[in-house]
């Protein structure tokens, strides 16, 4: 079967995701690692869009790229001396980690490969997800939704309390 536009877009974003994730993991410069995480998260959002999860794609861009990543960059710049030469970040247990990560990837890929002939090929019918997700959050998932909002509130208050405690002492 010839390559369609869907496949080409998928491969472009797959290469971007894997290469930028590799920079996140292997780069010795902390700022390069942080900025290439942007590309990884964007390509994950592109995967969501390819999988017809439009609401999740927008959420990914808003929360991860707009929120979590900016938070991490702030944390990095507040705690690491960026202007000095000593911006490098070392790594430890490299060989052990390589073996563990390769084993985990191998077993995951093996599972995917062995069940590949049984996985469904034809995707489901594409529908608009946002309104359905909204009504699911208000009916089936009402309790997890409320618990998640309480968790967010607790995390917010806890983060503020933890971050300002040292000033009192």
């Amino acid at each position: 079967m010839a390559m369609e536009l869907f496949d080409i877009i998928f491969y472009v974003f797959a290469v971007v995701a894997v290469v930028s994730a590799g920079i996140v993991v292997f780069s010795r410069n902390v700022l390069y690692a942080a900025f290439s995480l942007v590309f990884t998260l964007f390509s994950v959002a592109a995967f969501y869009a390819l999988l017809q999860a439009d609401f999740l794609a927008v959420t990914q861009v808003l929360i991860y790229v707009g929120g979590i990543l900016v938070l991490m960059l702030f944390g990095l710049m507040l705690t690491t001396n960026v202007v000095s030469v000593d911006i490098k970040s070392g790594s430890m247990h490299v060989w052990v980690a390589l073996v563990i990560a390769a084993m985990v990837f191998g077993s995951l890929a093996g599972i995917f490969y062995s069940t590949w002939s049984q996985t469904p090929v034809v995707p489901l019918e594409a529908t608009s997800t946002t309104s359905t997700i909204g009504s699911m959050l208000m009916t089936t998932y009402l309790l997890p939704f409320e618990v998640a909002s309480v968790v967010l509130l607790v995390a917010l208050i806890g983060a503020v309390m933890i971050a300002r405690r040292h000033r009192k002492a």
Binding site: V18, A34, Q52, A53, L71, Y113, I133
Partner: protein, 117 residues
């Protein structure tokens, strides 16, 4: 050599048409990278980035099964909850990292080993 040729032919017949397994393989790569970062990184914030990679890999799986499997929109709702928990985790963890930095003047996790000054 025969084995390599068979693998190459398998890849070439499998490659063009993207389906569920392709998304799963990419997410497995991201998961392995995240695991590697969690084990090797000394800087606590880079370690957090590894955790985010792992969570994103899990999310790709959830959404892919929501599209191709029988998980339907339940998978996407689960992915939304994962994103919510990742956001709160990042906020609390960065507050802890800031505190550690003010106390120890470093955020290298292998140097921060004492519970009490």
């Amino acid at each position: 050599m025969e084995f390599l040729r068979a693998v190459w032919q398998g890849i070439m017949t499998w490659l063009p048409h993207v389906q569920l397994a392709h998304f799963l393989i990419v997410s497995a790569v991201l998961f392995a990278f995240g695991l590697y970062a969690i084990v090797t990184r000394r800087n606590a914030i880079l370690l957090l980035m590894g955790i985010e990679l792992v969570l994103n890999a899990a999310n790709i799986n959830l959404v892919a099964f929501a599209r191709y499997g029988s998980l339907n929109l339940d998978g996407q709702v689960a992915a939304i909850f994962v994103i919510i928990l990742a956001a709160s985790e990042a906020a609390v963890a960065l507050a802890i990292v800031l505190n550690i930095y003010h106390r120890f003047q470093t955020i290298n996790v292998d140097e921060v080993s004492s519970l009490k000054e």
